[in-house]
Symmetry: C2
Subunit: 403 residues, 2 copies
């Protein structure tokens, strides 16, 4: 098994636990190699100290330091993930920052030596709407695990993200719900802008802990109000960060509204910086938003839906629990995006779901993540070839088809 | 990933669905290469049409056509399983014999091209003590899934095992509980003996379905009564099968009683046939019973205990949920029996269990199965080297140590 044995060898053998006297670390680099003539799609690469990310890219979500049901070496060799997400809120609660620091950061703790991005905790705290209080200083909330009280501020979020040590870290923001009252959306956006300053100030004063750069992405908010989105996109652009994110979408608004806001915000955000659309989405959402100029995506959909028996393929959607697959002994996906696709049959996978066996979620998660990574990789190849727009228009109806 | 791609190529490309006019298939072969001078331990090999099994051997349990939380290719390349078990009762209920037949048998259905052994359903039916009725003809029972009524007879069990198509199939028996009334144990043993004749008669009249041999192992019963065990072992020996099993142990009796009965039965069963001790056991049980002349073992303990956070190692037992491992960033098992052992730390695995993440059971199951396979493989090497007995006596206290 040479591929697995190699990993520890390339793994950093020492960590820098106190960097107060460190030299300036290299900045994340982004370069665009191709732009599509018929859309705003771009093909690029992000260079980090943990490796290069080809964009457009989908980032699997590894909430608590694990992409559910998938081994790290499977992410690397099967799924071909280039970067994964961690959730600050979850990692703060378990295993907690003390253990993460003792481990030398999340990369070492979970044995993942490629890039990691962490959210700020803002979204999870927003999801805990019944138990949280938002103030100027920050957010008080109760843990979903034991009800214990906690307080996140922009400074606290940055401190936790320093302990986690992700390559890309997110500004602490408020994610507004949908629908949202205009005045609330405006006040919330302004709060997110003030919080950004406090995030930047904290990072200026506190060096990273593990000897590699952590790049802050600020987040555009403003709900579905175009004037607020314009103000926010201009404000965020002025922050002159190495990358920018679009938050507050994929929270229940119609897809058309998501596309409209994404298009508007992308037209304002600087061209030469990567754009990350947070929490999006279906395969169709991803292709449409690549066409609008988005470079980076994350979503729990491929793994969560996998656990419920929904498989995404280039020919459409399979509900593998359906009786129609009971005697279908053909491969899960004949295009064979990962080893499991050709290894197991649809009938076998259906049986595993019917029997509530753990292997069901393992196989389906591997498949769906491999498909999402294939989709964004293929989009990049189509952009290079100048065929992205027609390919995208051909794929969109196919991807929505129910097999 | 060449190792995975190879598997479909070596997979049988056609199946024989109607074998009524087939020539006689080759018999399973067993040969003993070494016997231990200080104990009854033997080193041997079983040859089947799906490959060779080195004995002593531990057989992972794949209840419903999957060893819980473990991929088939991991069983092959990581765990180094030589043969796995399927459960007739579970496979009969799901996916059912029609689908198994349409798939071309269990090997093809689950994509496992090495040997398989199936139990007869007798043990599971015995476990359903509240809902089953045992008669001379067979056993009526209610499904644990939907309460539907079913009837297993020796003929029905053989018919189902023909549809499953395992290389080694078990006679339909009654497994008595512990403790057991003497008269009940005697009557039950006699019933098991009469049922054996019916199993043999069915198999004589019905050829295997998929073009490979299915070898019947009869089962010695008799509870913990030495005179009944002697009668049963003699009766089973006279059946002149290619292998023999010891049932009705590991059902709650003291370990000393299990060893005493195993020793007695092994002294009666033919030397030149493999001996399978059903449902046993802990690592210590396995080493002690190898010393008594047992060749084959199966047990849910490595996988079930893995899901509860108990890890078996050559240095003792780890309860990975214990707080003492919270900051132990050393490998799960430094002896590195499988890739995961060196890949993940104890602290990380503990975190996965604390967070109830699926990867926890996946890692722990891989580890425990790899350990059980290592243990029986190492026992074989020690028998070859003539050092088994002293090695076993050194290992027994270590294996019971709580780390």
């Amino acid at each position: 098994m040479p591929r697995r044995r190699q990993i520890p060898e390339t793994y950093p053998s020492k960590i820098v636990s106190n960097c107060s006297d460190m030299v300036v670390l290299p900045s994340m680099k982004f370069s665009i190699s191709h732009t599509d003539s018929q859309s705003k799609a771009r093909r690029g690469r992000i260079e980090t100290e943990h490796g290069t990310i080809q964009t457009p890219v989908f980032m699997p979500v590894g909430t608590a330091g694990t992409v559910k049901a998938v081994h790290q070496y499977e992410l690397e060799t099967e799924v071909k993930a280039q970067i994964i997400l961690g959730n600050t809120y979850h990692l703060y609660l378990r295993p907690g920052t003390e253990i993460l620091q003792a481990a030398g950061g999340l990369h070492r703790f979970m044995h993942w030596n490629k890039p990691i991005l962490t959210d700020s905790g803002g979204y999870q705290v927003y999801s805990l709407s019944a138990t949280r209080k938002i103030k100027e200083e920050g957010v008080e909330f109760a843990s979903h695990i034991d009800g214990s009280k906690h307080f996140f501020s922009p400074e606290k979020s940055m401190e936790i993200q320093r302990f986690i040590g992700a390559d890309i870290i997110m500004a602490f923001d408020e994610c507004t719900p949908y629908p949202c009252d205009y005045n609330y959306a405006r006040q919330s956006m302004e709060l997110t802008h003030r919080w950004l300053k406090r995030c930047q100030a904290y990072l200026d004063e506190h060096a990273p802990l593990y000897g590699h750069t952590q790049t802050l992405f600020p987040i555009v908010q403003g709900s579905t109000f175009k004037d607020l989105r314009r103000i926010s996109a201009e404000h965020i652009s002025e922050a002159n960060a190495h990358g920018n994110a679009i938050g507050g979408l994929s929270v229940g608004e119609p897809a058309e509204s998501m596309y409209e806001i994404t298009e508007q915000v992308c037209s304002i955000l600087p061209l030469q910086k990567p754009r990350y659309l947070m929490g999006v989405g279906t395969p169709v959402n991803i292709l449409e938003c690549i066409a609008l100029g988005v470079d980076m995506f994350d979503c729990v959909m491929p793994t969560r839906n996998a656990r419920n028996g929904m498989l995404f393929t280039a020919d459409g959607i399979i509900n593998i629990k359906n009786k129609k697959w009971e005697r279908d002994f053909s491969p899960i996906d004949s295009s064979g995006l990962c080893s499991s696709d050709g290894y197991y049959s649809r009938a076998y996978l259906r049986h595993l779901f019917a029997s509530e066996e753990r292997l069901a979620a393992q196989i389906a998660s591997l498949h769906n993540l491999s498909f999402y990574l294939w989709l964004t990789h293929e989009a990049g190849k189509q952009i290079e070839a100048g065929t992205f727009y027609s390919w995208k228009n051909k794929m969109v109806p196919r991807l929505q088809h129910r097999l």
